[in-house]
Each structure stands twice: as C-alpha cells, then as structure tokens.
C-alpha cells in the first residue's frame, strides 16, 4: 500500500490539461516526471505499459490517463480492501482532472468561433492554419513510423506503413483489415 495524496494529484492533472496543446500525448514527459520520478507513485513499467496498452486498444489515446489513474488507485489500496474500487476512483480522478479545463475552454472558444465565423480574424485563422494542419498530420504519421523496430530488418515497419498508406489513400478497403494484417505480421515477428 502506498499513500497517495489525491488532492494534489487532481490539481496536477487539472494544470496539465491546459498544457495539452496538440493532444494528450504531449504531456507524457511531465506526467512521467511527476508520477514516477518525483512522487514514486507509479513504477516505470506501470507507466510505459499504460501508454502502450491505451495506444493499441480501440479509442482515443487519452485513455492512457485513465490507466495511469487505475494503477495509482491499485497501488493505494490496502490489503483486504477492494482494489478495483480504488482503481476506478483513481481513473476518475485523473480523467476528470485532465479533461475538465480543456473541455470547458474548447466548448467556449468553439462557440465563439462559430458565432463570429464571418469575422476576418476567424476566417484568417482557419484559412491560414489549413496547410499547417495537413503538415501536422503528416508529421504525426512520420513520428509514429519512426518507432524503433525489434525485427532483423529495420525497413520492415517502414514498408508496412507505406503499404498501409497506399491502401487507404487509393482503395476503399476497410481499415480494420489493414490493422489486422499489421497485428499478424507483428505477432509472427516480421515487424
């Protein structure tokens, strides 16, 4: 059992929320610093496997925040207590903390943009950022594709990424088939 201060934990995730520009994943280094290095509330392997599992599971990657909270709760549960209830409490604490400020801000800002969409400033924002947005998507793909490979041939993952890209770009093949093929290739050690 480990003493976790829930108040400061909640406050920390509240403050991280507004720093998550570009997605939840951009705050990972700071979460690691706080939870693993400073407070020692999570082990290194709990931290990295939370992110890996959330990325592979269906849904937005932000679910890794719920997993971190779950592990915190499990670590805090005393023996004899119902561990999964503590896990749920942890998951709710981190998830609500992390999403509340950014959600409120987005809600208000998006409404304002919608109401003032004819304004030159708002139109210039959307027009100007269009090419930046496209490039940021390409960059995200590039960064994901650069994950180091364990296979003997380091070009295998790149080939797989390129093949997936061509299939999605040029055909209407369902994405789940392509993902299944990727999972199988990885399972048998090709990637």
């Amino acid at each position: 059992m480990m003493a976790i201060e829930w108040g400061p934990l909640f406050a920390h995730f509240l403050s991280l929320s507004l720093m998550a520009i570009g997605g939840a994943i951009t705050t990972v280094p700071d979460m690691h610093r706080y939870l693993v290095e400073q407070q020692h509330w999570l082990t290194q392997s709990q931290f990295t496997s939370s992110i890996a599992i959330a990325q592979a599971a269906p849904g937005p990657n932000v679910t890794f925040v719920a997993l971190l909270g779950w592990n915190l709760g499990i670590n805090a549960a005393a023996s004899g207590q119902i561990a999964w209830l503590w896990g749920l409490l942890g998951a709710l604490t981190t998830m609500v903390g992390f999403l509340l400020p950014s959600t409120v801000l987005t809600f208000l800002a998006a409404r304002w943009c919608q109401k003032n969409r004819e304004r030159l400033g708002v139109r210039a924002f959307k027009t100007g950022l269009a090419p930046v947005v496209v490039a940021l998507l390409v960059a995200t793909g590039w960064i994901l594709a650069s994950t180091p490979s364990a296979a003997s041939a380091p070009w295998h993952p790149w080939l797989l990424s390129a093949a997936a890209m061509l299939l999605v770009w040029r055909t209407r093949l369902h994405l789940l088939w392509i993902l299944t093929a990727g999972a199988l290739l990885g399972w048998f050690g090709w990637v």
């Binding site: 269906p58 849904g59 400020p101 950014s102 490039a135 990424s161």
Partner: protein
C-alpha cells in the same frame, strides 16, 4: 447530412472510437467526411484547426464541437461521452484481466505492427486533405511552403507544438488575413 439525434451522436462517436485502434485520428476523417458526410473536407480542416490549437485531446475536442453545433450543450456531452465511455471501459477491463499479457514478445510485436499501420493510416488521411488546399485563398505555393516549413519544424527540429504554431501558424495567419482583406477590397 447531419446527425439525427443526441443518441445518434453518442452512438456514431462510440462506433467511430471503437474502430480506432492505435488512435482515432486515422479513422475520424473517413467516418465523418466519407461515410457519414457530416462535414466536407474544407469544413473538417477548419474544425480540426480549432480542435488542434486548443488544449486537450484533438478528437475529443472535435466531437465536442460537432455535438454542440447540432444539439447544443447536451449534444456536445453526448458526442464526447460516445468518444470516451466504451474505450475507457475496454481499456480498464483489458488491464484488469490481462495485466501480464503486454509483456509477451508476440503481443509486443502485434502492438508494433498495429503502430506501423496506424502511421500509414494517418499519413494517408493527410494526403486526402491536400486537394482541399487548392481552394485556399492563400494560394497553392504559399500553402506548400507553410506545410513544408511545419513538417521541418516537427520532423527535423523536433520542436514542441507551441513553438511550431508560433513559427509557422502566426505567419500563416498574417498572410491569410492580408489575402482575405485584399479579396474583400477587390469585390467591393
């Protein structure tokens, strides 16, 4: 086309999220533009720009904006709940039941394989948006230059998004503002 009800919003975003292995970003465009046709490519890009610049997970921000537009606050909550409920339950159940499984080399391999595919899916999603840039008032050359600059900032210089937005987003905003004002002046 538009969502028919708050329940439709909740359910559509749930189904969308549940297809998003390796992140929802790769699938959100195909579902919303091609299948549901709730947005055009141009409208998607505009919404995505707002969702990306504001803090918080991009796909959650996007669902919130679309829900709010059609059914107000309740719609925003319904869409966001769809995006988060089932995926959170699934990911917690996975960990509660199979906590040791992620260490198997086969499972790690499968995760890597799916990661490589997800990288391809996201790149393809970006390629599909390029035709919509042709109608951009900044002109194709300016768009290409801004896109390459952004790419270099992230891929070569490894800058944090805040800096990328300041370095390329601000000049882009200024150029777009000037071009749009010129156009407005001409049409008067």
């Amino acid at each position: 086309m538009r969502p028919t009800s708050k329940f439709d919003l909740f359910w559509s975003f749930s189904l969308l999220a549940l297809q998003g292995f390796g992140g929802v970003q790769a699938i959100v465009q195909r579902e919303l533009i091609e299948k549901k046709q709730w947005l055009t490519k141009e409208a998607f890009m505009e919404d995505w720009a707002v969702a990306q610049v504001l803090p918080g997970p991009n796909v959650v921000n996007l669902s919130l904006m679309i829900g709010d537009r059609h059914f107000g606050t309740a719609g925003a909550l319904a869409a966001m709940a769809g995006m988060l409920c089932f995926p959170s339950v699934i990911v917690l159940a996975l960990v509660a039941i199979f906590s040791g499984l992620a260490d198997l080399p086969q499972v790690q391999g499968a995760l890597r394989g799916m990661g490589a595919v997800a990288a391809g899916l996201i790149t393809a999603a970006a390629l599909k948006l390029i035709p919509a840039l042709r109608k951009n008032p900044m002109g194709l050359a300016a768009c290409a230059l801004l896109a390459l600059l952004t790419l270099a900032c992230v891929v070569l210089l490894h800058l944090a998004l805040v800096w990328v937005l300041l370095l390329t987003g601000l000049p882009a905003y200024g150029w777009a503002y000037w071009q749009l004002r010129q156009r407005a002046a001409k049409s008067e």
